[in-house]
Point group: none
Chain length 194, copies 4
Amino acid sequence: MGEKSVQKKRYIVEKAREVFVEKGFKKVTMKDIVEACDISRGGLYLYFENTSQIFMEVLRMESEEADDVFSDSITEDATAADILLLFLKEQKKELLRKKNTLTQATYEFYFENELPKRDNILKKQFDSAVKIIEKLIEAGVDNGEFICEDCEGTARNIMFVLEGLKISAQTIGVTAEAVDREILYLLRGLGVED
Amino acid sequence: MGEKSVQKKRYIVEKAREVFVEKGFKKVTMKDIVEACDISRGGLYLYFENTSQIFMEVLRMESEEADDVFSDSITEDATAADILLLFLKEQKKELLRKKNTLTQATYEFYFENELPKRDNILKKQFDSAVKIIEKLIEAGVDNGEFICEDCEGTARNIMFVLEGLKISAQTIGVTAEAVDREILYLLRGLGVED
Amino acid sequence: MGEKSVQKKRYIVEKAREVFVEKGFKKVTMKDIVEACDISRGGLYLYFENTSQIFMEVLRMESEEADDVFSDSITEDATAADILLLFLKEQKKELLRKKNTLTQATYEFYFENELPKRDNILKKQFDSAVKIIEKLIEAGVDNGEFICEDCEGTARNIMFVLEGLKISAQTIGVTAEAVDREILYLLRGLGVED
Amino acid sequence: MGEKSVQKKRYIVEKAREVFVEKGFKKVTMKDIVEACDISRGGLYLYFENTSQIFMEVLRMESEEADDVFSDSITEDATAADILLLFLKEQKKELLRKKNTLTQATYEFYFENELPKRDNILKKQFDSAVKIIEKLIEAGVDNGEFICEDCEGTARNIMFVLEGLKISAQTIGVTAEAVDREILYLLRGLGVED
DNA sequence: CATGAATGAGAGTTCATTCAT
DNA sequence: GATGAATGAACTCTCATTCAT
């Protein structure tokens, strides 16, 4: 597959991403993607065999670009609390966003495909986020910003709360206030006064 | 609708439940349910128009029967900590169970149907669970079992963690140990020593 | 499947037969048969899963109706030679007929489906034809019409020649004269003077 | 077309032959052949327009190389009976061979293409085989090996029996014993004692 | 009420064939 | 000459939904 093919594949994945954002995973057909890309029916099959394959590529591309969840938050003289807060605000924005989100499609994809439980991109992201938060909390404890006895447990707790908020946002609905309240609760747990 | 019709409807819903447990929500077709019920294709349409309608009925029946999430745990002389622990154990069992769970189907259903965000059974269950946990914690605080400054916040935190664990179990996979660890973390947050 | 279904199935098989006669086996699609029957696309699938299944049914029906290859030839006072000659004439007509023949389709079907080598309708027909010809020759020998030392071998020889003529008719082409010549040759082998 | 082109064409035909041997004629697509040859899709079209054209070339090449059906059998001091027997043994081997045979593909090809009935390679091969067998029988009669009144008729009979065996091998199945039995029958018809 | 045959829309998939490079 | 990406027609198959009985 030449240079051009790589570009076209990328093009398809980008267009497909929009479709998945729009419709989730299950509802999306090869036809939908063909139409979104404005290519021929057979053309798509030159690059991908099915929607799962395309979605996995979308996820891969996503995780490549988004590896820097924290990098935005980390600036020269930011404190641990600043960084954590920024990260949580970022997550809030993400989880409240109705559109331009792959959240639902991602869940649906993992529901449908029991297989990739191991070496699961989602899991890797979760674990690495826990690690980073843990380091952050440790740093905060060191310089007296945070109070925390079980940094790892707290990091994991934060991530599960975020997961809970995320899925709740997609199902029972969650308001900005509700998210703020949870963020406050988490910060207070670290000994941060408002 | 006569008595007989009510019974048949109930029969359909029960059979359909098995199908949803087995296949989630999206993948299920009217044909699947017709076959599971061993009734005629047209027959099903006399009672339900589509799978969404059937699933909502499944959910309704479910919540009627399961309103007593706590009732099992509450006995005469159980302490607040006992009850909370029993509840959490119950949730653990539920979320680790691969089969006989409507979890996935429920998520899929709410993904597909943006509509029932309001008067959403899931939301009601969530809110009422928060309430009950809050009362429980308050009781625990009163008799010195728990230490807690923000009972409502803590109750909500517990529920979001459970939601996070539940969705994680369906996507990235969660081990029994991981769940135990979270439960311990939550209890320690209430000042409970192991 | 009720009485009506049986009739419709029969109707489909009859229409499909025409299609197979027209186009052989391989070229025929479910769509072709749907169109020939003037039923809906999905309708055909209620009765048959694929063209092989339909063709097998065509063959079965064919063999039911045609079990009496010889019965036409057998009359009260016909001699063995008469009957044999009539049979051979019948075969001649059959193998020279361009249209209304399942020959080609049958060959194609057996090419495609290696499976039914055993309990193969074609084989049964061949074997039973050999048996009948053998009996016929024996009868002819008994009453002095034929001279033959190895009736079974001769019967089989006749059938293989007929098979050879049949496939030749479909591939290299065979004239009426050529068939007559072979028939004469076979009869002379039985000591019959023209 | 240059020297190189001729070679490439030959290469394609040889590779295509393998495909036809493997899959018959009808099932073979241009894509199959492209893949077998490991050339480009468009490249094949520079040489052939469709599978029929390719197959005809395969047949032509085949008949060029195989014109010597008998040449193997004919040695200095072999008797007519020896040669005939060798030829029949050769045919037996051929028709029992499951793989490496173009038989099925050839039949399918002639089924599909009504056209080449005239100037039909198959026919030429058949006719020339009849001629040769006839000469052989005449020679055998001359030196007292065979008894035969109608050499041409007998030669043709032999060829039709072989055709019958060949197609039977492909459809109803034929055992080595069955072939031997037919060969014996044919030889006895020529007055040859076992 | 209940049945289940029938319809037809629509998704998936494969290839023959073309054509710019 | 040669390549292989691209197109689009054609086929298979599945269901939601209707309707005569």
